[in-house]
């Protein structure tokens, strides 16, 4: 049995953007908002490499990363501890991510700007559901 439970899968559909934090070797943290943390299997996720940015640079010198993902149905959030493993520029994970990114781009007016260069594959070290970060839906004035 892997680290990622089935119930986390809706949080990896790219409906609500995710947050990712990395750290350079000189100790400077970097925070970014990304379209999707892509579910690969119960022990791995992929992040898109679209531009050579600080996240891409950081994990190649310090592989540790954390991601915060949100389930769009329940709005529960999860913290993932990740470790960069390798990068793929072809194959089923790359193709599926590429198609997904094109779809997100076309729906958010970013066609031609979002373009997948590689799928960065991370090993998931832990996945923890946050239980104290939501106000019960019944308490919200709708």
């Amino acid at each position: 049995m892997g680290v990622l439970p089935d119930e986390i899968k809706p949080a990896m559909e790219g409906v609500i953007p995710s947050h990712v934090v990395t750290c350079s070797l000189d100790g400077t943290p970097n925070t970014t908002v990304i379209s999707q943390v892509y579910y690969v299997d119960a022990d791995h996720v992929a992040l898109s490499f679209q531009f050579f940015n600080k996240t891409i640079k950081n994990v190649r010198e310090n592989p540790h990363a954390v991601a915060w993902v949100t389930n769009p149905e329940s709005l529960e959030t999860w913290d993932l501890e990740l470790e960069y493993d390798h990068s793929e520029t072809s194959g089923p994970v790359f193709d599926a991510m590429d198609m997904r990114i094109e779809a997100i781009a076309s729906m958010t007016g970013m066609t031609g700007i979002f373009k997948l260069k590689a799928a960065d594959i991370y090993r998931v070290k832990s996945a923890a559901k946050n239980t104290d970060e939501r106000i019960p839906l019944a308490a919200i004035d709708k």
């Binding site: 609500i16 953007p17 947050h19 990712v20 934090v21 990395t22 750290c23 070797l25 100790g27 400077t28 943290p29 970097n30 925070t31 970014t32 908002v33 679209q50 531009f51 940015n53 600080k54 310090n62 540790h64 990363a65 954390v66 991601a67 915060w68 949100t70 769009p72 709005l75 959030t77 913290d79 958010t108 970013m110 700007i113 979002f114 104290d132 970060e133 939501r134 106000i135 839906l137 919200i140 004035d141 709708k142």
Partner: protein, 155 residues
């Protein structure tokens, strides 16, 4: 110094994510509900739920390095980097800022056409109290809007 234009953008409102790291260079994430650029325009105070803040207090005391991403639904975004200055419980004025922030963010998302049945629970359902006010000195600012210029240092 944070430019007038960026102050307006940050108070916009915007979505925010705070990053810190520990002594072993392991990063940590914290979500933020409300922030205000202080009058000196060199420090920024952001509001973080107490439970989330407890996870990063050690990082703030160990090295104090902070990165804050601020982004709008238009995709325009910036990253502010600097060093921790102080932490205190939120007061009534802070809570008022948080409540204005939440209301404005819902209105902004509705303007962008996101459905009310998603936007309201997503934004208003995020626990924002009890919270602490974390102040940090902004030393560098980077453009983070998606595109080839992302990562460019602008201040």
């Amino acid at each position: 110094m944070i430019s007038e234009k960026l102050v307006e953008f940050i108070h916009g409102p915007v979505f925010m994510a705070l990053g810190t790291r520990n002594e072993k260079l392991r990063p940590a994430h914290t979500f933020v509900v409300g922030a205000i650029v202080n009058q000196d325009r060199e420090t920024l105070t952001c509001f973080v739920s107490q439970s989330r803040a407890e996870k990063i207090m050690g990082n703030l005391e160990d090295n104090g390095k902070i990165a804050l991403t601020v982004g709008s639904p238009s995709h325009e975004s910036y990253q502010l980097k600097g060093h921790y200055v102080s932490l205190r419980p939120t007061d009534a004025k802070d809570v008022a800022i948080q409540e204005i922030y939440r209301t404005k963010l819902v209105a902004l998302m509705l303007q962008y056409g996101y459905p009310e049945q998603i936007v309201k629970p997503m934004i208003l359902g995020a626990k924002y109290q009890p919270a602490v006010a974390i102040t940090f000195r902004v030393e560098e600012i980077f453009l983070q809007t998606p595109g080839p210029e992302a990562g460019k240092k602008i201040a």
